[in-house]
């Protein structure tokens, strides 16, 4: 990935797995190329890329990769409040990449396919619940 340095890629890989841990049939972000997707997205948005690079560089200065997991989480919580601009972009890009992955979309109970071309079957619903409305009669105001 050219958008982010190797060190930033490593840090980001560790972070995204803390943001979204693996669970049952839902993979960890690093297993489904979330970091690569973030890099691709940042390549089109120089302003946000700068926020990312600065944020990751700052985290790197705290020797993030060598910290135990619990301290990594504590550090991220600090960034969530102290550097909201970076953290909100970090979350948004992580979620963007994760929740558009077909494996994840299938894992949350959908078909895993995009909405088209198959669409879905929808129940018509219970229109007898309109009976009271009909019985009540006209509510529009005749001027």
């Amino acid at each position: 990935m050219k958008t982010l340095s190797k060190n930033n890629v490593d840090i980001l890989g560790e972070i995204v797995d803390l943001l979204i841990p693996t669970k049952e049939n839902l993979p960890s972000p690093s297993k489904i190329d979330v970091v690569e997707h973030i890099g691709d997205a940042l390549s089109n948005t120089p302003k946000i890329k700068r926020i990312f690079v600065e944020g990751l560089s700052d985290i790197n200065n705290k020797k993030f990769l060598s910290l135990p997991k619990s301290e990594q989480i504590t550090l991220l919580k600090k960034y969530e409040t102290s550097n909201g601009a970076f953290f909100s972009q970090l979350l948004r890009h992580t979620y963007n990449a994760y929740y558009t992955n077909p494996i994840v979309v299938a894992g949350i109970g959908m078909t895993g396919s995009p909405p088209q071309p198959m669409g879905y079957t929808l129940e018509k619903g219970n229109l007898t619940l309109l009976d009271k409305v009909i019985k009540k009669g006209q509510i529009w105001r005749n001027p």
Binding site: P114, G119, L122, L130, W140
Partner: protein, 535 residues
């Protein structure tokens, strides 16, 4: 130096909801009609994202309804720093019907008589019943899904297709309305639920706002425009109008525009018609100032750009225990509640509001909703919310106020240097009280239906879908911009047919009424065509 073109009978500026309907009606009469559209054609089968895994991300980027975020070449930026509501629009053939949710309610009879009934704002110079035949014609042309018998409206002709399905989610919330004995109805939607007019029925894929690749949603690029073009209407895309010129006698003479190559062109016409929405139309008029009209074209009243009305929205969301399959079906469920629509003197506000019911958020939108924590509890919380929320959009009637306005920003321009609009808007006390009442009653419905958690946003910012009032219709030259036929008081061959001419906003989506007005005005122009074309 501009390049001149052959004169046409009628030149329409804007190919959206009103421009499309109008161009079709004029072309049908045999008049030579041309339309200039700022955007381009969209190919539904290749240009929409809903067949792609990353479809939801397009809401944040190239399909963002806010032109300031979308920033496509065809868009113009809008200074909305002084407004709590951001104006939304789409620039393409079909205009904002490309990304609309296809809600298709009509204004109600009382909406046209608010001065007489409630002593606020002004009456319209025409009535619901004057427009009724045009509503009916427009429904037939667009194709409307719905259920006859809505007690909140005078009777209508049979809807073209059956109503949009309620699904489990609709049944859940209908149960709440039923328990309270309040009005609800599967309201009109411009969506084919079965095949109609050569277009297929909806396959309930969900995100109508990202465009309909199967053409079940009735955007005007797939309804009116193919028919208008068959009747020899001419449509020029990527044509950005800079100004309208006038001749020595004060009549509209031509539109000057940039073509797709940035070349300046001048198009002459016997009649010029603005259909560029409630922000774009005043922008063009104000950008067309001249020695004869120093404050902007057709602006002797000083009202061009004034009285801007949005529909202010409050959002109320209920979370439920059970899986409501909320991703299935058109995202706007098209249940509408009119229980609180009309004025009730026991309340602390005048006029009223509607609710629309919206289905659950899609996966990415759920994750980004602000309710899902990162870390250990992420998946568990996601599972408890995904497919289990119902949202009400509480739509208040915004009354016209002179200080809510569109002006020309002194610095901001589009990429061709055409000055951009600036929006100044404040929510009125009446609207605030109305929305607060709506939040209260919507919360009551949610609780009654069994919601386990209810949250609300008192005023949604990204909700300026409806742009109205900035070239008001009326009988007096001093108190309005156009007469009851959309004809400007100042320039008799200049017409306006979009939401700008609304006198008041009602509390429902305006597109059906905008299009009915466009057809009504088209009929008037056809009846006067001999007079205009002989000049």
């Amino acid at each position: 130096m501009s390049i001149e073109s052959e004169k046409v009978d009628v030149l329409v500026i804007g190919a959206g909801a009103s421009g499309a309907a109008f161009a079709w009606k004029l072309a049908k009469s045999g008049m030579k009609v041309m339309c200039l559209e700022q955007g381009d054609w969209i190919n539904p089968s290749t240009d929409y994202s809903t067949s792609s895994p990353d479809w939801e991300i397009h809401r944040q980027t190239d399909f963002n309804p806010n032109p300031n975020f979308r920033s496509l070449d065809v868009d113009y930026p809008i200074n909305d720093m002084e407004s709590p509501i951001a104006p939304l629009m789409y620039n393409a053939v079909g205009g904002s019907t490309i990304h609309w949710s296809a809600h298709f309610p009509r204004l109600k009879p009382s909406d046209f008589r608010v001065k007489t009934l409630d002593n606020v704002a002004d009456d319209w110079p025409l009535s619901y019943f004057d427009l009724e035949p045009y509503f009916e014609l427009n429904d037939k042309m667009m194709g409307v899904a719905g259920l006859n018998g809505d007690t909140a409206y005078p009777p209508k002709s049979p809807r073209q297709t059956p109503p949009v399905g309620l699904g489990k989610l609709g049944d859940k919330i209908a149960f709440g309305f039923d328990k309270l004995g309040w009005h609800w109805w599967p309201s009109d939607s411009a969506i084919n639920t079965v095949e109609y007019d050569g277009r297929p029925g909806c396959n309930n894929c969900g995100p109508c706002d990202l465009g309909c690749s199967i053409k079940a949603k009735s955007s005007t690029d797939v309804t009116y425009w193919p028919k208008a073009l068959d009747l020899s209407a001419e449509l020029i895309t990527n044509a950005r109008v800079r100004e309208i010129t006038i001749d020595r006698s004060g009549k509209a003479k031509s539109a000057i525009y940039y073509d797709c190559n940035g070349e300046v062109k001048e198009q002459y016409a016997s009649i010029i018609v603005l259909a560029s929405n409630g922000v774009g139309t005043p922008r063009i008029l104000l950008n067309s100032a001249s020695s004869r009209f120093p404050d902007g074209l057709a602006n002797s009243s000083g009202l061009v750009g004034k009285n801007l009305m949005f529909h202010p929205y409050s959002i109320v969301t209920g979370l439920f225990d059970d899986d409501l399959e909320g991703h299935k079906g058109p995202s706007p469920l098209n249940i509408m509640c009119s229980e609180f629509y009309e004025t009730d003197p026991t309340r602390d506000f005048v006029r009223g509001y509607s609710y629309q019911v919206v289905r659950s958020l899609a996966p990415l939108a759920t994750a980004l909703s602000g309710h899902i924590p990162w870390g250990e509890n992420h998946h568990e919380t996601f599972k408890k919310r995904f497919n289990r929320t119902i949202t009400f959009a509480v739509i208040g009637e915004d009354l016209p106020e002179i200080h809510n306005k569109v002006t020309i920003d002194p610095e901001l321009t589009d990429s061709f240097g055409i000055p951009s609009p600036k929006i100044e808007y404040e929510l009125s006390e009446n609207s605030r009280r109305m929305l607060d009442h709506g939040i209260g009653t919507a919360t009551q419905v949610m609780k009654t239906a069994g919601a386990i958690e209810i949250t609300h946003d008192p005023l949604k910012r990204e909700a300026g879908w409806h742009l109205m009032g900035t070239a008001k219709m009326g009988t007096s030259k001093d108190e309005s911009v156009v007469n009851k036929y959309g004809q400007t008081h100042d320039v008799d061959n200049l017409y306006i047919i979009d939401g700008s001419i609304f006198v008041t906003a009602g509390a429902v989506n305006p597109t059906s009424t905008i299009q009915a007005l466009a057809l009504y005005i088209a009929d008037h122009i056809v009846s006067k065509s001999r007079e205009f074309l002989s000049q």
